[in-house]
C-alpha cells in the first residue's frame, strides 16, 4: 500500500475494510486447515464436524468481500495500486474459499475414515503436510499485508516441498493397496485428502502471485519449476 492517504479519507477506510476482511477470512482458513488435519490424526469426529460447520462462515466472508469490492469499483473507480488492491482482494478471497472447501472435504473424509482401520503413519504425514501448507498461508498473508514481494516469492518456492510430500504419500498408498486390497477404500480416501492438501498449496502459490502482482504491477513471468516427476509417472499416476 502507498504510505500517502487519499484526499477522500472514506476511500482509505473502504480499502482498509476489504483487506481486514481478507485477513479475517485467512485466519479462519488457517484454523480450518489445522483442525481438519488434527481431526484426522486424532480420529476426532467432533472436531471434523466443527470444521465442516465453520466453512459456512468462510463462504459468507467471501461473499461479503465480493460485494464490498463491487461497491468500491462502482463508487470509487479505483486506479493503479488501488485497482490492483481490489482485484487481488477478489482473487485471494476466491483462493481462500477453495482452500476452506478442501479443508471441509478433508473433515468429511475423516468422518468416514474413523470407521476404518487406520493406515500406519498416513494421518501423521498428512498432518505435517497440512501444517506446512498452513505455515505457507500465514506467510503469504503476511507478505500481502506488508506488500512484500520477496517474501511472496520465497513462499511460492516452498510449494515444491508440499509437492514432494504428496509424491511420497502417493507412493506409500500405492504400496499399501498392492500389499492388501482391504486397504483400498481407506487409501483412496487418504489419497484424495493428500491430493487436496497439495492443491491447497497451489492456491497459496496463487495468493503469492497476487501479492507479486499487487506490488510490482505484473505477474511473475515463469511458472514455478516442477519437481522431476519421472518415478511417479512410471508408477502410472500421470497427472
Amino acid at each position: 500500500m502507498m504510505d500517502e492517504s487519499h484526499i477522500q479519507s472514506v476511500f482509505d477506510r473502504d480499502l482498509e475494510k476489504i483487506q481486514t476482511l481478507i485477513m479475517k477470512m485467512g485466519g479462519l482458513v488457517e484454523v480450518s486447515i489445522l483442525d481438519a488435519v488434527r481431526s484426522l490424526a486424532n480420529r476426532d469426529e467432533e472436531l471434523a464436524m466443527k470444521v465442516r460447520e465453520n466453512d459456512r462462515a468462510i463462504d459468507q466472508l467471501e461473499e461479503e468481500i465480493y460485494e464490498e469490492a463491487a461497491r468500491i469499483i462502482a463508487l470509487r473507480a479505483p486506479t493503479a495500486s488501488d485497482l490492483r488492491t481490489v482485484l487481488t482482494v477478489m482473487k485471494i478471497s476466491a483462493n481462500l474459499e477453495r482452500i476452506g472447501d478442501y479443508a471441509k472435504n478433508l473433515a468429511k473424509r475423516t468422518s468416514v475414515l474413523v470407521q476404518m482401520r487406520p493406515i500406519e503413519g498416513a494421518a501423521e504425514q498428512i498432518r505435517r503436510m497440512g501444517r506446512e501448507v498452513e505455515a505457507m498461508l500465514k506467510q503469504a498473508l503476511d507478505a500481502y499485508i506488508q506488500r512484500d514481494a520477496t517474501l511472496a516469492e520465497e513462499v511460492r518456492e516452498q510449494d515444491a516441498e508440499v509437492d514432494l510430500m504428496y509424491n511420497a504419500l502417493f507412493r506409500e498408498f500405492l504400496t499399501h493397496m498392492m500389499e492388501d486390497p482391504s486397504n483400498i477404500t481407506a487409501c483412496m480416501h487418504l489419497h484424495f485428502i493428500a491430493k487436496n492438501t497439495e492443491r491447497m498449496g497451489d492456491h497459496v502459490t496463487s495468493i503469492c502471485e497476487q501479492v507479486i502482482y499487487l506490488v510490482t504491477g505484473s505477474m511473475p513471468d515463469e511458472n514455478r519449476l516442477k519437481e522431476d516427476r519421472t518415478p511417479y509417472v512410471r508408477m502410472g499416476a500421470g497427472e
Binding site: 500517502e4 492517504s5 477522500q8 473507480a77 486506479t79 485497482l83 504491477g217
Partner: protein
C-alpha cells in the same frame, strides 16, 4: 501503429518570470486521442495552446523549443498562425458559438479560408461538418436559428462541427465537457471516438475517468514537467512514476 503527428522537443514556456512548461519532449500520434492530465496549474492547457500557437496572443508568454507538425516547424517565421489554426482546430471549455445562425457558425471558417467556391459547396461542407459533429439530425430543420439557442451539449457539438469544418488535421480540446451534463458528455465522448478516425485529437481534461474512457495515450503533467507519457491502459493500471500514481489514485501528490 499510428505515426507521429506532432513532435515537441525541449519546449519551454514562460509567462513573464514564471517558468510554466519545462523541457517537454513528446511525440503525439496521428489518428489517436491523447489525453493531457494533471492538477490545476501543471501546464497541460499551456502546452495544448502551444500546439496551435494560441500563446502568441498572450503578450507576456514566451515559447522556446521546437514543435513540429508533420515534420514542419510551426514556430517558423514563414508560418501564418491563422493558417496553422485552420489545420489545428480548437474546442474550448465553455461552448462559445458565434451570435449567428447555426449555419453561419459552421460556414464562417470555410468562408474566410476560401474553402467553398459556390453556395452548394458551402452547403455540403456545413452538412458534412454538422454530421461529423453528430448534431446534424437535431439541427437540420433549423439551420437559420441562432446557435446560442441550442442546449449546452448541442452548442458544444456545434463548436466541434465548426472546428472540423475547415478540415483540420489536429483537434485540440480544452476540457470540452466540463460544462456539460453526463448525457451530453457521453455524446461528446462518443464523437471524440469517431473523430480519431480522421484526426489527431489532443484533449485536456480534469476528469481522469474521461481521460481513461476516451484516450489511447495519456500524458501526466506536474509543476510544468511532463512526468509520464504512455498507453492509457498502462498509466491507469500500472503507472511507472510515483507522482502519477499519487495523482490518479486521488492522493496528495
Amino acid at each position: 501503429m499510428s505515426e507521429t503527428k506532432i513532435s515537441a522537443r525541449n519546449v519551454q514556456v514562460y509567462y513573464g518570470d514564471t517558468h510554466a512548461i519545462k523541457d517537454v519532449d513528446v511525440d503525439i500520434d496521428d489518428k489517436t486521442v491523447t489525453a493531457l492530465i494533471g492538477p490545476s496549474g501543471c501546464g497541460k492547457s499551456t502546452f495544448l495552446r502551444c500546439i496551435n500557437r494560441m500563446n502568441d496572443t498572450i503578450d507576456v508568454a514566451r515559447v522556446e523549443g521546437d514543435i513540429h507538425l508533420d515534420g514542419e516547424d510551426i514556430y517558423d517565421k514563414a508560418v501564418d498562425p491563422v493558417q496553422l489554426r485552420a489545420k489545428v482546430g480548437m474546442v474550448f471549455q465553455k461552448p462559445n458559438p458565434f451570435p449567428k445562425s447555426i449555419y453561419d457558425n459552421v460556414a464562417y471558417g470555410p468562408k474566410i479560408h476560401g474553402l467553398a467556391k459556390t453556395k452548394a459547396d458551402l452547403d455540403e461542407i456545413v452538412e458534412r461538418a454538422l454530421r461529423r459533429g453528430a448534431i446534424w439530425d437535431e439541427v437540420k430543420d433549423r439551420l437559420n436559428a441562432p446557435g446560442t439557442g441550442l442546449s449546452g451539449g448541442q452548442q458544444q457539438r456545434l463548436c466541434i462541427a465548426r472546428a472540423v469544418a475547415t478540415e483540420p488535421e489536429v483537434l485540440l480540446m480544452d476540457e470540452p465537457c466540463s460544462a456539460l451534463d453526463p448525457i451530453a458528455t457521453a455524446q461528446v465522448e462518443e464523437l471524440i471516438d469517431e473523430l480519431k478516425r480522421n484526426y489527431s485529437v489532443v484533449i485536456v481534461t480534469h476528469s481522469m475517468q474521461q481521460a481513461a474512457r476516451v484516450s489511447q495515450k495519456t500524458a501526466f503533467f506536474h509543476l510544468g514537467n511532463l512526468v509520464e507519457y504512455g498507453e492509457t491502459g498502462q498509466i491507469f493500471t500500472n503507472p511507472k512514476d510515483k507522482r502519477t500514481e499519487s495523482y490518479i489514485t486521488g492522493r496528495i501528490g
